[in-house]
């Protein structure tokens, strides 16, 4: 099968950008990514725009003034998995030899929503009924947290430790919104949102950001060209009455397929960027991504293996907890971060000798499924 390369990438700082509209923010990431890729604007043959809440034809609005000469622009939405889905679809087109070089970018302006939790997709009787009762994404994750503490005899401090780790990493990342460290005590003392999740255990919501990558069938001029070893998107299977909510089944399924497609195993992975929208999520994804066995998430965390300097650093960028989660941008930003590590460009956060990296993001917002979408990619040099 044709090799697919990430020629270059870039992201904006994630955070508040007062007075900056989505097109300007996205253009910043796009132009830096094109420059990083060492290609000309005229080399781009199609554009994929990943966005969730920014309205119709956002991609075309973003690129209008970049004057791409009417090439195809595709707008992609899969909730929080939009960015990775954009890369997945771009890869299909490259494999089919429709194009040899394309641009994928993700953009989101959550500050335009005025704060609060992400709205659910309520055009559905079940979701509407549950939303009326009070279902919001923090509540869904919180119930996983409650069950986790119960079944695993885990402590609230174990959840808080995820936030401490990722905030430490974010302090090293000029692109993160939260650039200060925190402590277990501070995390647990922050305002309760949905018990057991406190404010500092939830990814910040007042955040805008964009990220972009250039994908090509050509390796480009980089000393270490980054290859997309595998790319998987799956949708949620309808929940059954006695499902185990600690089994992140959609992510486990996407990860199994991604490892198989790439011909690598979890032990081969040197660095991971996963979807830590809430602290409990990272613990569950350790198991779903097979970084440890079922039941061993807390042990893996306590071993130090997922810290910077450990065997398999998870979220060296600071993750969603420190960066924030501009929905459409997240999946692309995860790949930009992993690219930096694989090419030894990650500065103070660098995972030494990283050769294979994994990215994972999941999109939710409807009732009756674990999540609606999950996407896992393996990148390598």
């Amino acid at each position: 099968m044709q090799d697919i390369h990430i020629l270059g990438g870039a992201m904006t700082r994630f955070g508040r950008h007062p007075g900056v509209l989505a097109p300007e923010l996205a253009q910043q990431a796009i132009l830096k990514a094109i420059d990083d890729a060492g290609v000309a604007k005229a080399d781009i043959q199609a554009v994929y725009c990943a966005n969730v809440l920014g309205g119709m034809i956002l991609g075309q609005l973003v690129v209008r003034d970049l004057c791409f000469q009417g090439i195809p622009v595709y707008n992609v939405e899969n909730a929080c998995a939009s960015g990775a889905t954009g890369v997945h679809l771009a890869r299909h087109a490259l494999l089919a030899q429709q194009y040899d070089t394309v641009l994928v970018f993700g953009i989101e302006q959550l500050t335009a929503l005025g704060g609060g939790t992400i709205p659910l997709q309520r055009n559905d009787h079940k979701t509407e009924l549950y939303a009326k009762a009070g279902m919001v994404l923090p509540a869904v994750y919180a119930m996983r947290g409650t069950r986790f503490l119960h079944e695993r005899q885990a402590k609230r401090e174990d959840l808080a430790a995820i936030a401490v780790k990722n905030r430490h990493n974010g302090a090293l990342n000029e692109y993160a919104q939260q650039r200060s460290e925190t402590t277990i005590e501070e995390v647990l003392a922050s305002r309760t949102i949905a018990d057991p999740l406190t404010l500092l255990q939830c990814c910040p919501s007042q955040v805008d950001g964009a990220a972009a990558v250039v994908l090509s069938t050509r390796p480009g001029k980089a000393a270490k060209p980054v290859k997309v070893l595998s790319s998987v998107v799956v949708s949620g299977i309808r929940e059954e009455a006695r499902d185990d909510i600690l089994d992140a089944e959609i992510t486990a399924r996407a990860a199994r397929q991604a490892y198989e497609q790439a011909g690598v195993g979890p032990a081969d992975v040197d660095v991971v960027e996963l979807h830590d929208a809430f602290t409990i999520a990272e613990l569950l994804y350790y198991e779903a991504l097979q970084l440890c066995s079922r039941g061993d998430a807390v042990a893996l965390l306590k071993s130090g293996a997922t810290q910077l300097g450990g065997r398999v650093p998870v979220n060296p960028s600071g993750g969603l907890l420190a960066k924030g989660h501009p929905l459409g941008a997240t999946g692309v930003a995860q790949m930009v971060e992993v690219m930096w590590h694989l090419q030894e460009r990650a500065g103070a956060r660098q995972v030494p000798g990283a050769r294979i990296g994994l990215t994972q993001c999941t999109g939710g917002g409807i009732a009756g499924v674990d999540h609606a979408a999950s996407s896992v990619h393996l990148l390598g040099v």
Partner: protein
């Protein structure tokens, strides 16, 4: 609450929450499928047993400026089997395994109320 497009509760005297039962597999779907659903023909409407056990829960703490008090939400596992999400009322703090019963509610259609409340 406006009339929903699907029945939530069965008629008195044995009022019970209703679910759609897949005729082929026996799987229960809640809430019931509306008549407009092309899937409804493959399902029959059945009552759900009133009492189940909490599978998991959370307590939402609304922001101070909203003026709202904290409230509990959870999944209740009922015989069928079926798992239903909703408000948990009648107990200071729910616990996994605690028994709750479905009860009609003006605002939400239904809530679950604690069966074994401590004295």
């Amino acid at each position: 609450m406006t009339e929903p497009a699907y029945p939530l509760w069965g008629a008195p005297p044995e009022s019970a929450l209703l679910a759609s039962r897949d005729r082929a597999t026996g799987e229960l779907v809640f809430p019931t499928l509306p008549d407009a659903s092309p899937l409804s023909g493959a399902h029959e409407t059945v009552p759900v047993a009133t009492v189940g056990e909490v599978y998991s829960f959370t307590v939402i703490h609304p922001s101070a400026k909203s003026g709202e008090s904290p409230y509990a939400l959870g999944y209740v596992d009922l015989p069928g089997p079926v798992r239903i999400f909703g408000r948990l009322v009648g107990s200071a703090r729910p616990a996994i395994g605690q028994r709750y019963a479905a009860q009609a509610d003006e605002r939400f259609g239904y809530v679950f109320t604690a069966v074994d409340t401590a004295a």
